[in-house]
Symmetry: C2
Subunit: 304 residues, 2 copies
């Protein structure tokens, strides 16, 4: 019984605070000055905090142990040790990007750095995900008569190709295009019932914005996968925002791709679930794939 209670408590706690770092950073939640001091102290050295005892943490922050206990409770944790466990989880992926941009030189460091940043990008994307917008986008795509997916540059090309790759097998009529001139013509000729999906990491691709403006004038629905507040976001009907910390993007622009790719993945899944019969078709496709694979064929021949 005690065991079950503990387990339930943990599960509940896990649900309550999926990201402790965010809670710690959120000033509004911390009313008293000592709690702010405590939060600042913990954030200043999370590594220390994850491993220190309650007395050590209290001493470093200049407060008493009971204050720390109360603080943990207020943050939604069951106890101090629960707090530590959650902090360790959050810090593992959530706080690594605070590391200084070191000049990585050994292969092991390069690998570690890239994997960490990719995981961070996914983590951050998930944290800031607007599910409501994604659901609306999925609904639009599922009902669309025809879908155009516009991207530009290596990264967004990859994204829209991926969307095409994922959606065509769900029974969607979709064409991906990465050519500005073509995009403009397709926009000008698009018929009612068409939905246009556009991807741009920065949201400042002029040509794409122009297409979207034209489409708005023409009453064609548009979905943008981009940064919030960007020109492309302004021009779109539904905006799926992915905002990653600037520092990450400037020095090594690549990790954002993982976030975009996963977002497309989620979107495609939502489209699949939007229509049960389509979803069934998807599953049948996967089965077929399995069978072919067992015959020795490369899975990739099927594109998935």
């Amino acid at each position: 019984m005690g065991e079950d209670a503990a387990k339930d408590g943990n599960a509940a706690a896990g649900m309550a605070a999926p990201d402790l770092i965010a809670a710690l950073t959120d000033e509004s939640a911390l009313v008293s000055p000592l709690e702010r001091k405590l939060a600042a102290s913990i954030l200043a050295d999370v590594n220390f905090a994850t491993n220190a005892s309650i007395t050590e943490i209290a001493a470093r922050a200049g407060v008493s142990p009971p204050t720390v206990t109360r603080f943990c409770r207020r943050l939604g944790c069951a106890s101090f040790s629960d707090f530590k466990v959650q902090l360790a989880r959050s810090a593992y992926v959530g706080l690594r990007y605070l590391r200084p941009e070191s000049v990585t030189s050994t292969p092991a460091e390069v690998a570690e750095d890239i994997v960490t940043k990719a995981q961070n990008a996914l983590f951050e994307m998930h944290r800031g995900l607007d599910l409501e917008a994604l659901s609306r986008a999925a609904a639009l795509l599922a009902k669309a008569q025809m879908i155009y997916a516009f991207g530009a540059g290596g990264n967004s090309s990859m994204i829209v190709n991926e969307l095409q790759n994922r959606l065509f097998r769900l029974g969607c009529r979709i064409a991906a295009s990465n050519d500005h001139g073509m995009n403009l013509m397709l926009s000008a000729a698009a018929e009612p019932g068409t939905v246009v999906f556009g991807s741009s990491f920065s949201g400042r691709n002029h040509e794409l914005v122009r297409c979207f403006q034209l489409l708005r004038e023409r009453g064609i629905k548009t979905i943008a996968l981009t940064q919030s507040g960007s020109p492309l976001a302004e021009a779109a009907d539904v905006v799926i925002t992915v905002d990653l910390p600037e520092g990450q993007n400037i020095f090594r622009a690549t990790s954002t791709r993982y976030a975009f790719l996963a977002t497309v993945d989620i979107l495609a899944n939502l489209v699949a679930y939007a229509d049960r019969s389509r979803s069934t078709r998807l599953l049948r496709g996967i089965k077929e794939q399995l069978i072919k694979h067992r015959d020795g064929d490369d899975r990739q021949l099927l594109g998935d």
Copy 2:
């Protein structure tokens, strides 16, 4: 002093066991039967273990608390609480794939599922990464007169396009191709000094294997990014293996892409570091990119 000691101890412990789950799974490290029992009990319900007290864990495993303490020490942790912290970290990304393949239906669940699996794929890839092979591949690519990157199907196409996208700006002469006929012709015509890179998730793409065999006969160096032990791996000079748990691949083949993408990312970085002057050129390129970006251009126009 106590604080510093604690911090140092933690840092050291963190280095010693970056992945506790692996240590727990590794039977060879666990000599005594009770320790095996304990490890099994912990692995059976990691969630419980991360939150329970030492007595609860001991009770569940049917051992005494001191045994648990000793067990933690043996695994390289400073103490039981250190063990818990590390377990929480590992479990966060490392063990989620043990979850039953649930029928995810709500958008939140879909998003959680996809992000988790992508992170897991990255985690597993990083764990099994053969840095030595990657370094050899990078050295080959850096010195190559010409590089061909062969892929097949949606996923591997993406991978080889990505490689091209990353390497051409490092000053590499590279062409990506996804067409079997073309690949065969290129293989037959390749001159000495050429290096061929091939990607296949399963390693069972017959045409690609045939190309590699032909290339071996002709003395052209080949690099395969694929599953270990596969026909493609057998046919290649340098093999970069990415072996992800079967269960993951079979049901939703997509998460492996994140691992492949990150591997290409790492490889490209290693190529950049292989030659300092090239690396400098890379950095200059990034600067240019930044400047253009500030002018309002989409970063993606530059392909990164």
